[in-house]
Symmetry: C2
Subunit: 337 residues, 2 copies
Amino acid sequence: MTVRMKDIAHDLGVSVMTVSKALRNHTDISEQTRERVLARARKLGYQPNWIARSLVTRRTHMVGLVIPDMMHSFFAEVAKGVTQKFQPLGYQIVISNSEENAEREEEQIQLLLARAVDGLIIASAQTSGRSELFQSMRARKVPYVLIDRVPPGVDAHFVGVKNEAIGELATSHLIERGCRRIAHIRGPAISTGNLRLQGYRNALHKAGLASPAEYIVRGDHGDERGYVAMQQLLQLKKRPDGVFCFNDPVAAGAIQAILEAGLRVPDDVAVVGAGNVHYSDQLRVPLTTVDQSSLLTGEKAAEMLAQCILADKPLAPVYLFMEPKLVARQSSLRNGA
Amino acid sequence: MTVRMKDIAHDLGVSVMTVSKALRNHTDISEQTRERVLARARKLGYQPNWIARSLVTRRTHMVGLVIPDMMHSFFAEVAKGVTQKFQPLGYQIVISNSEENAEREEEQIQLLLARAVDGLIIASAQTSGRSELFQSMRARKVPYVLIDRVPPGVDAHFVGVKNEAIGELATSHLIERGCRRIAHIRGPAISTGNLRLQGYRNALHKAGLASPAEYIVRGDHGDERGYVAMQQLLQLKKRPDGVFCFNDPVAAGAIQAILEAGLRVPDDVAVVGAGNVHYSDQLRVPLTTVDQSSLLTGEKAAEMLAQCILADKPLAPVYLFMEPKLVARQSSLRNGA
DNA sequence: CTGAAAGCGCTAACAG
DNA sequence: CTGTTAGCGCTTTCAG
């Protein structure tokens, strides 16, 4: 069976308490007994039982990470950032997949709370103002940090990119490159999608360009949807000469549709994505995109959460909005300006 | 504070035991009291404390997943498969990143054991025969399933692809397409890398083709390494006309090197990868690759582990080797045969 | 410096 | 059907 402190104590003829203290480097233990305990522990291959320890200390040294899709390379990168920051602190990460489903997200969070994780990092899939969930979390005093998306009606720690700026950067870039009929394949109706759309509109407005309603089509997250959305755009009488896509997977799908239609990228239609996923420079047409510091998002969220956990009391919410950066590549490289 | 069973019991004037049984739908509780308990629990927003429960039941309903790199889309896909299978069973996944480092892997596994996970799924980074780790796991009777790689000297449940077949499929394909000077950018010195190399050799041998030593260069996992390795190959007097790359990221790097050298893919050099990562058909040159059923790997490993956990005693090791499938795309589409 | 007492929140086993 | 007793492995508190 597994060795317990009791076993070590028994072997050495000391009390369990002595063992406990020795193992945790308490000061009020003689150097000699500490050595004896440590030696014995090593020989028996003792591993502390974290379950028991957690029950009394009320610390599990686990943090929950709730994301909508681990296959999306943005979230994978965030997860990596979070892990990198927390692993050295002795924390482990429990990952939950909400599959972009608000109810499942809620279930998973409840489960994580039942497991008494020390904190949570959440890329929320909530769309309507179901803020009870977050209120109940606050009531329980479980620290949490939101990332990427701002659920409606929630006021909490947040780390993400300036989404409106993404839309503006991408769209202005297309304008500079000489595009005049600029479409947008928009994302889902959550903060990221809405704000990028808003940025797109701002940029067009500033440049005095029109944005006809039919130039805005729904693309969601995936590349299949981007493909379909682009086909739709290509059938318009006034075909767009530039498209800003919600994210890189959508843009990849859009490019495929354009090429299949016998058109050229960027000469006939220029394309800009967002996210700068790590293979975006290796796509059929190297993709112009807007970098949103995915890894850093994970790292910053982890740091924030770690602070909350250490503080051991609710801290005033901190909002960290990161500045996006345009990464110009071939998909928007046209004769234009 | 958080509500405990004690609170419900006190409110209702019953014992904690009654509450406990009612909440877990034990049979020997009257319908009436069960209702009362459930109602009260709901009103108070009671959540069972899994820590306490785990301490006595010795079941945590957590499984550990140890992988070398969560950014590599193969492992992300595996993780997704594992999660999909386990989430409905009420299990949660603790993910640990070994960063391809054997010692860190060992630490992480020890930590997971200390957390008393019910089981483990491991893509091991062990290179030398340090099998003590796995022996100690067996001694502790923690069920575990290995995936993707077979560490030397370990005999345990396994799910992975037939790596030798991958090498044979890819290389034979290049031969069929008319390549005669076929190089290999090999992976790391673990089972996957070694076996794919072996398959490459087998195929060449069967076809009576030579495999000069300088045609085999080290590429490891990443695309930067594939890029460098390819540059090296391009400088040989007898330039290869076909390259089988350890995996798709490496192949992407190789293609980049070829194009930058002013050569064409596949006409000057044909390229085949392995893994069929989800963006491989959208690369600059759509990549011929060998599919290894990543998602299925995760799902099957999860099923296997779930069985072991349910069985509650050591089961004879089961080895599941999946059949790879060639996915022919443009990067190998040449005039050849 | 060491240890005895008490308890974290829950459940298994048995008694009523 | 309900409750009592005991204890999971550990730590906190406080007395020697």
